[in-house]
């Protein structure tokens, strides 16, 4: 890959989503993906508007474009985590998954946690 293109994809996850994954991000997804590092985001949305997709793209971008070593996701329903993992796998083939259970019930809704390595 050309160096310019690589830098562009690294600094702009929305561009990466559009160009590499071929998915046009919605305006709120673009804002979500381009948020500063460590930002706390709250998305108040309807059903089926791409919450899981946006999260999966952000995590896949961190894993593949930025080379982030580990990402953690938690959700009250295991099925939601599985669908998230499926999307991430589709966006970033080399990402390894590990589903772990934790004993910290108070911190996690249903003791389900997804690690991306």
């Amino acid at each position: 890959m050309n160096t310019h293109r690589e830098i562009a994809y690294r600094i702009d996850p929305a561009l990466w989503m559009r160009e590499v994954l071929g998915i046009a991000p919605r305006p709120w997804q673009e804002k979500f993906l381009c948020a500063p590092r460590g930002a706390s985001m709250l998305a108040l949305t309807a059903r089926q508007v791409g919450k899981t997709t946006a999260a999966a793209v952000g995590m896949a971008h961190s894993a593949s474009a930025l080379g982030q070593e580990q990402t953690c996701a938690a959700h009250p329903r295991m099925s939601a985590l599985h669908s998230l993992a499926g999307l991430i796998r589709a966006y970033s083939e080399n990402t390894l998954f590990q589903f772990l259970e934790t004993n910290h019930e108070s911190e996690l809704f249903d003791r389900q946690i997804l690690f991306l390595r």
């Binding site: 160096t3 293109r5 830098i7 562009a8 690294r10 600094i11 702009d12 561009l15 381009c34 930025l66």
Partner: protein, 175 residues
């Protein structure tokens, strides 16, 4: 009616002919699944190459190559020629026949050049190609991207604009 020559009809006839013309014995028939007698007839009748003639030619060629001057011989001949040129120029200047002397020396020089070329001493200078492989491009991209993210992390629009410009630049390079 004379019978057809097996070698003439062979698929690799050009190669066989070339080897025969190069002086190789008819024993090469085995390489092509041919009868040596048939190959001998082909060499004599079709190619008109008598074995004695080939041998003579080959020996003559080898001798001619051996007779070509070595680099050292040519070098000393050139040095000798330079000394003679100086002498001749002096003499010709005294006798006022410089043109004749120079043209004679020129012919000697040309002869030496031809001999040197024949001996393979006059080869064009080989071109040296230096190839530098830059293998730190990816590292550079990572570092630059990281620097840009740090600098414009709180300005997503600026980051997006930089990314767009970089992508446009890449499109221009590739088109």
């Amino acid at each position: 009616m004379s019978r057809n020559c097996c070698t003439c009809q062979h698929l690799k006839r050009p190669e066989i002919d070339r080897r025969l013309a190069g002086g190789e014995p008819v024993a090469l028939a085995r390489d092509y699944d041919l009868n040596p007698s048939s190959l001998h007839r082909h060499r004599t009748n079709c190619l008109k190459l008598a074995s004695s003639k080939i041998k003579k030619d080959a020996v003559r060629g080898s001798a001619a190559i051996e007779l070509l001057p070595s680099k050292e011989t040519l070098s000393s001949a050139y040095l000798e020629l330079r000394a003679r040129i100086d002498q001749v120029v002096e003499q010709a200047q005294e006798q006022r026949s410089l043109n004749v002397a120079i043209s004679g020396l020129n012919s000697i020089r040309q002869t030496l050049d031809s001999l040197a070329r024949l001996a393979g001493h006059l080869q064009p200078a080989s071109t040296q190609v230096n190839v530098a492989v830059q293998n730190n491009v990816n590292v550079g991209a990572v570092q630059i991207a990281e620097r840009l993210i740090q600098a414009f992390d709180h300005e997503p629009e600026t980051k997006a604009r930089i990314a767009r410009v970089l992508l446009e630049d890449d499109h221009e390079h590739t088109s």
